[in-house]
Amino acid sequence: MSSSDVRAILNLPQAGQAGPSQPPRRSVPVKKPEGISRELYALIGDNAPSLAEAQASLAAFKYRERPKLKSKAVKWEWMRFTPVGKDGLGLGHWVRSDEEPDARVEYFGKFNLHGPSVMQYSQFEYDQHLVDPTWTSQETAYLFGLLREYDLRFVVVADRYEYAGKKRSIEEIKDRYYTICRRLVRTRTASDPQTQQQLLQAYAFDKARETKRKQYASELFHLTAAEIAEEEALYVEIKRMEQNERRYRADRDDLMRTVVGLDSGLIGLEQANGEGVVGLDKNKKRKREEEVPTPAPTKKQKESAAYDLAHCIYRLPTAPSSATSSHLATRHPLHVGVHLRSTKLPQPKPNAAIRITDLLGEMGVSTQKLVMPTRVNLEVFERVLQAAGGLVDMKRQVDRVEQEVRTLRAQREGYVPPTRQSRSMSVVSEASTRRK
C-alpha cells in the first residue's frame, strides 16, 4: 500500500495533482532507506522525513565531551552575617564552603571609608583666626558638617546647602573653606616650610576671578547659531593665515639661504602664534596695515636718541619697505646677528680685485687689515674702496675707447680694410659709452 492508496481511501486529492483521476503509476524504484520496514516506508512515502534517518544523523553528530574536572564541585552555604559596623543587621549570603566565612565581610568593610579628609578646627582657633563677619560660627560648623558628609563635593554641598532658609553659592562656600584652610595652615606651626608653602598654594582660591570665569563660561552657552558660524569662519581664517605665514617663512628662509647664505633670524612663528591664536582676527590684520608706514619719531624715540648718543649706541636705520618685499619683511626687519665690524669689511669686486689692491698698495693702504675698524673708519675705507673701484672701472673704459679710436683712425688712413666685426664692436662700445 502506498501513500496514494491511503489518500484514495481517505478521499483526499492526490498529492500535487488536482482531480480524482488516478495518476499513472510511475514505476521508478525508490530506494528504501535502511532501518525501516517496507510497509512503513510505503505508508509514509518518500517525502516524510524518516525517524531512522534522523537517528542516523543524530548518531553521526559528535557531542562535545564532558569536561573531566579534577576537583569536586564546590559547596556553597547560606550564611548569616553582620556587615562591618552594622550591628543588629542580620543579612544572609552564599559563601563557598572553602572560603573563610568572614573574609568577604571584612573585605567589603575595608571600603567603608570616607573620601578626602576635611580640615578640622578648634573653637579656640576659630575665635583667634577664622572669624568672618559674613559667617557665624554655627554656620561655619554647618558648612563643615556638609563638606564632611558629601566628601568635599562642592557642587553637591552647594545644592544641599540651606542654613536658616538661606542658600550660598559654590564660590562663597569654596572661598570660606579655602580661606579657613589657608589660615589654619599658616597659623599652625609647620615642620617644613616647603610643605606649608605647597599647602598654601593648594588651597589658593580667588573668588572674584572664579566668579568672572564662570560668568564668561556661562556666556558661551547662550551663543546663537549665527555667532557660532562667525566664530567658525574666523577659526578657518586663522588656520588659513597660519598656513600662509608658514609658507612665507619657508620661502623667505630659502631665499635668505641662497642669497645671503645665512638663516634669517625670524622670530619663530609658532611662538608668535601660540600667544595670539585667540586674538588673531581682523584686528590683527588692521594693525599690520598700520605698521607699514614708518612711524614718525615720537617723544620716546627722541629720548632714546639722546641716550644712544651718550652711550655711543648707533642703530641701523630700518630699511624702508619697498613694494616688492613681503609684508613680513616690514614686520620683522631683517635681523643680523651680532658681529665684529672688521669681519664685515667690504670686499672689492672680484674681477677688479687685483687692480684695486694694486692701486691701494700704490697709495700705501692695506686692504687686509684695518688697525682701527671703527664705524667711521670703516665708512671711509668703504668709500676709498668704492672710489678705487670706480677709478679702475674708469681706467678700463678709457683704455677700451682709446683702443677703438686707434683702430678707427688706422682704418681711415686706409691701412686696414674695415671688417664687419670691428664695426659692430664699435657700435657696441658706443652704445655702452652713451649709456653711461
Binding site: K86, G88, L89, H93, R153, V155, F221, I228
Partner: protein
C-alpha cells in the same frame, strides 16, 4: 568578588504611577510588573460579596494566570497595622495583575500614586503585600528592601513607606534609592542628566557623582497619561474622516466580537449586557484608557527630524490597527499628531479637553510646570542643565540618559537630539539611550538591582533597629 557583588537576596520595588515593578536584586529584569491602579469595593456585605462572585471570576485576564490563582484580592484584615481601623473599614482591595484587569460588579478604580509619590498608604501596602507573599512568595523578614523614589519625594511619603516596610511587613532593612540616580547607574554613569518620560510625568534630574541635584530637578505632568487623555477625546468624537465615535469597549465587556470585513466601518459587537449596569465610571475610564494604550504603543511615533504639519501628514506611512471591538482602520496622521505634544505642547496640547485629574495637582514652581505652562521636553532638559553649575554642564550634556516607557515611542530620542542641537548649537550633546528596551523600561529598577547587590552597599541599609531607635531621621540622613 570579581564584580564586587555580594548577594544578600535583597528585593527591589519600583513604585510608578502606571506600573509597579518588583524583583530580586542582582537580576537583570523585574520578576513582577503589575499595574499601580487598584480596584476597590466599599462595604462588601456578605450578600453582595457572594452575589458578585457569580459575576466575577469567569472573566479571564489574558496577562495573568487567571483570577484567584494569585489571590489578588488582598483582604483588609490580612495585614494588620496599617489597615486596621480608619474610615475605610470594610473596603476590599483588588491589587496586582488580577486587580483592575478583572471586571467586578461595582468595582471602583483608583491609583495610590499622586504627583509621582506614594500618597495612599493602604492600597500601596496591599500591593506590596501581594507582591511579597503571592507573587514572589518570600518571607519578608529575611530580605532587605530597596525602594525607588522620585527626586521630589516628600517626607510624608517616605514615612508612609518606611512604616509599611518596617511595621507592616517587618522587613529587616530598607533603603530609598532616588530614581534618577538609579537610572544613571543602570546606564553605568555616575554623572548624567536623566530624562524620564513616564506616565504622569516627564522629569529631568541632574545626577553628579551619584547625587541627584535638587537645583536642576524639573518635572511636569507631560507623559503617557496626558497623551492618552488627548487620544481618548480624539477617538470618542467623530472626525472628518470618521463619522461615528469609537466605542473603545474593553474585552471585558464584549461577549462576541464582530470582525467587520472592511476597515473604517462601525463594528457591532455583541455586548455583555449583564455587566453594563454594574460597571462604574472609574473602571470604565481605566478600561478605555487601557484600550488606547496598546494603540499608542503600537502606532504612535514622533517625527524624528522636523515638526509636524498637516500638509505633509498625508504622505506619512499608515498602519493598520484593530481595537478589541473589531473596529480597524489604517491610521495616518494621528499617529504623529498627538506625540508632537511632547515637543510642542503650546500648539498640540488641547487645553479644552479635560485633563486627567491627578495631573492637575502639579503646580508651577521653580522646579515644576503645571498643565497650564508645559514646556517641550528639550526645553525641560535645557532648563535643568542651565540650573546647574557651569562647570558640570558640559558633562551633563554629554551624558543625557533617556528612560521611561513613553520614551520608547519611536523617533523620540532622535527628535530630542535634533531639538537640543537647535537649542544649544554651541554645545556638544550626547544622548545615551539603551538599545535594549528592557533597560529603558525598567531603568530605575535595574539601577536599584545593581546597587543593592553590591558588597559595598551593605553599610547603607537602614536597619529595623536603627529605625526603631531613631525614627525617620535616620532614614533621611542615610538616603540623601
Amino acid at each position: 568578588m570579581v564584580y564586587n557583588g555580594d548577594e544578600v537576596s535583597a528585593l527591589v520595588v519600583d513604585f510608578g504611577s502606571h506600573t509597579t515593578r518588583a524583583g530580586y536584586a542582582g537580576e537583570d529584569c523585574p520578576r513582577v510588573v503589575c499595574p499601580s491602579f487598584y480596584g476597590y469595593i466599599d462595604d462588601p456585605t456578605p450578600a453582595a460579596g457572594s452575589g458578585s462572585s457569580a459575576l466575577e471570576g469567569e472573566d479571564v485576564n489574558m496577562d495573568g494566570d487567571g483570577p484567584g490563582a494569585n489571590g489578588a484580592a488582598a483582604g483588609v484584615g490580612s495585614n494588620g497595622a496599617l489597615n486596621g481601623g480608619g474610615k475605610r473599614k470594610g473596603r476590599k482591595y483588588y491589587v496586582g495583575d488580577d486587580g483592575v484587569g478583572v471586571w467586578r460588579a461595582g468595582m471602583e478604580v483608583d491609583n495610590f500614586m499622586l504627583d509621582g509619590v506614594v500618597h495612599d498608604a493602604e492600597p500601596a501596602a496591599n500591593l506590596l503585600h501581594h507582591i511579597l507573599h503571592d507573587r514572589l512568595s518570600v518571607d519578608p523578614t529575611e530580605h532587605p528592601l530597596m525602594l525607588t523614589e522620585p527626586a521630589w519625594n516628600t517626607a510624608k511619603s517616605r514615612e508612609i513607606l518606611a512604616e509599611m516596610v518596617f511595621e507592616g511587613e517587618k522587613m529587616p532593612a530598607m533603603y530609598f534609592g532616588s530614581a534618577g540616580v538609579l537610572s544613571a547607574f543602570a546606564a553605568g554613569k555616575p554623572t548624567a542628566l536623566v530624562l524620564d518620560v513616564g506616565y504622569n510625568h516627564s522629569s529631568a534630574v541632574p545626577v553628579v557623582d551619584g547625587y541627584a541635584l535638587r537645583a536642576g530637578t524639573m518635572r511636569q505632568p507631560l507623559g503617557g497619561s496626558l497623551l492618552t487623555s488627548q487620544l481618548h477625546h480624539h477617538f470618542t468624537n467623530p472626525t472628518p474622516t470618521r463619522s461615528f465615535p469609537l466605542s473603545l469597549l474593553p474585552r471585558q465587556l464584549i461577549a462576541k466580537r464582530d470582525p467587520t470585513p472592511e476597515p473604517s466601518l462601525q463594528p457591532r459587537p455583541i455586548l455583555r449586557d449583564d455587566r453594563a449596569p454594574h460597571t462604574t465610571a472609574s473602571w470604565n475610564l481605566w478600561a478605555q484608557n487601557s484600550v488606547i494604550e496598546p494603540w499608542k504603543e503600537a502606532c504612535a511615533e514622533v517625527i524624528s527630524t522636523r515638526g509636524f504639519d498637516f500638509q505633509t501628514a498625508k504622505d506619512l506611512p499608515q498602519s493598520l490597527y484593530e481595537f478589541p471591538d473589531g473596529y480597524h482602520q489604517y491610521f495616518g496622521e494621528e499617529r504623529f499628531r498627538f506625540t508632537e505634544m511632547l515637543f510642542d505642547p503650546k500648539t498640540y496640547f488641547n487645553q479644552s479637553i479635560e485633563p486627567p485629574a491627578p495631573l492637575r495637582v502639579t503646580s508651577t514652581t521653580e522646579h515644576s510646570h503645571s498643565l497650564k505652562d508645559l514646556v517641550p521636553l528639550h526645553q525641560l532638559v535645557h532648563d535643568s542643565i542651565m540650573a546647574c553649575d557651569v562647570d558640570i554642564r558640559a558633562s551633563l550634556l554629554q551624558n543625557i540618559v533617556v528612560v521611561g516607557n513613553t520614551s520608547l515611542t519611536r523617533g523620540l530620542t532622535e527628535r530630542l537630539d535634533v531639538e537640543l542641537a537647535l537649542l544649544m548649537p554651541s554645545q556638544k550633546i550626547k544622548i545615551h539611550s539603551p538599545t535594549i528596551p528592557f533597560e529603558k523600561k525598567y531603568a530605575p529598577w535595574l539601577g536599584g538591582s545593581v546597587l543593592a547587590s553590591l558588597g559595598t552597599f551593605h553599610q547603607l541599609w537602614v536597619t529595623k533597629d536603627e529605625y526603631e531607635e531613631h525614627g525617620m531621621s535616620i532614614v533621611h540622613q542615610r538616603c540623601k
